[in-house]
């Protein structure tokens, strides 16, 4: 099959000063914004919930387990629709929230369940002696987590957290379902207008790849920076 690539449409006006290229860049910005704030929400909530699940308090553990299972067992797209169409019926104030906030919350909460799993398994993978040593030193629970358990656990789970952050970039495409003009929406509308679907999906795929890969590089850098020299995670 012979296909002639034609990229010139990117400079075609779409009304006013905007071209397909400027539209693409705006769409990319939306994708990155959703992903960034989505991961922020996911990281903070996921860390708290994950830590809850490793404590000795059965209420906190149950709360953490319920949280994780609810957000983990409902498909992301369905969760987005719940936030957009269903929950506002019961809590009308949500109707006033900008759509971007709903998307960030939906993606953030969905991913928080996965981040919580990471934190839980990271903390549980540490030797029980760490906990005992901390308590023997007279640390209270907060101090124990802050000074002894979390610094070690976070180093262990950076690779899996990286996957979650990369997943968020890819999952951000569901924002299209509630009318956010991100990359996937751009791809669908622009290929309809220009009939250059192959070029558009190629560019959009490359941008998704670059975004996700950048996250990977950043996390490798962080991992390298906070590495404890000569540390190996071997269970005693």
């Amino acid at each position: 099959m012979h296909y002639t690539f034609n990229w010139s449409f990117f400079f075609k006006s779409i009304g006013g000063k905007e071209t397909y290229l400027t539209w693409l860049v705006t769409a990319w910005e939306w994708t990155l914004t959703i992903s960034f704030f989505g991961f922020l929400v996911a990281f903070i909530l996921g860390a708290i919930v994950g830590i809850f699940r490793t404590t000795n308090n059965k209420y906190l553990v149950t709360f953490g387990n319920i949280w994780t299972e609810i957000f983990r067992n409902i498909p992301l797209l369905v969760q987005i629709f719940l936030w957009y169409h269903v929950i506002p019926h019961f809590i009308p104030i949500i109707n006033k929230a900008p759509r971007i906030v709903l998307v960030v919350m939906a993606i953030g909460l969905f991913t928080s369940s996965r981040v919580s799993e990471n934190f839980k398994s990271g903390i549980q993978s540490l030797s029980i002696a760490q906990k005992h040593a901390g308590l023997a030193l007279g640390l209270n629970t907060l101090q124990l987590y802050w000074y002894a358990l979390l610094p070690q656990a976070i180093r262990i789970i950076i690779p899996t957290l990286t996957s979650e952050a990369m997943n968020i970039i890819k999952n951000s495409s569901v924002a299209f379902a509630i009318s956010i003009a991100e990359l996937t929406m751009f791809a669908m509308q622009a290929q309809e207008e220009t009939a250059r679907g192959i070029e558009i999906y190629l560019v959009v795929s490359v941008l998704y790849f670059i975004s996700a890969f950048a996250v990977n590089l950043i996390s490798q850098f962080i991992e390298h920076k906070i590495k404890i020299p000569n540390q190996t995670f071997v269970k005693q």
Binding site: I14, G15, G16, E18, H85, P88, N95, F176, A177, S179, A181, M185, M188, Q189, E192, E193, T194, A195, G197
Partner: protein, 298 residues
Amino acid sequence: MLKNLRLTFLYFAIVLGLFAGVAQADSTLDKIKSSGTITLAYRESSVPFSYLDDKGKPTGFGWEICNMIANKAKTQLGLKSLDIKTQAVTSQNRIPLLQNGTVDIECGSTTNNKTRGEQVQFATNYFYTGTRFLVKSSSPVKSLPDLKGKTLVITTGTTNYEIVRNLIAEKNLGINLIGAKDHNDAFLMVAEGKADAFGMDDILLYGLKAAAKNPQDFKVVGEAIQVEPYGIMIRKNDPEFQKLVNGVLADIIKSGTFTKLYTKWFMSPIPPNGIALKAPMSKDLKANLTALSDKPAN
């Protein structure tokens, strides 16, 4: 081990061969003849052209014409039986699915324009529509400029989005334009007050209004922004099938069946709610019943 590897290659070759077989069947009529099946594409909510009735079965004006075309193909090819398969399509995937052979023909609400004409073949235009606005009955909005500072929703993957977006930018109208996933979604946004108006081909708006729980809560307003023809889509470079499709259209137009179908679907009560769209035949369509043109929109 080696045997397994060989088997794997064999399966691989068979699968590839199957794909190649599909790709090589370039004439739709040959494909219908050899497979004994035809796949008709339908839309889930393009009332009254092609949509699902209360039993979840495809129905509509275009759907009936598509079935007439399938029957004509059966008689012309002298087939004893023809298996009519159905496949749902959306604004976004209807052209790729037609091109790759998943569906053979689409009788929906697809605007016949030049860009699409490079990818598919349109039959004789069988409807004309213009972009107007669906708003709540209580809304003061009467035209596009009235939407200044308000939110207008248009389905993604449509020409309406492009036309209205360019118009907003050129005239600096200050309207917040957003894209919906599909027509039902856009309608829901107006119903829930998340958008002030839904801009779309007026006939689709009439259809969505008729299918709503409370049709009296909505109205269609505004002068048509641009008149566009709808056409039946088939694959490009397939003159035999094109001739058959246009032949069926010409026959039913001449015999008066087309006008009867029009009255049935556009003027009389239709499923699922038994509400009539009451959209009289436009002068453009009347003119094309004698001209039989497949001229695309500008």
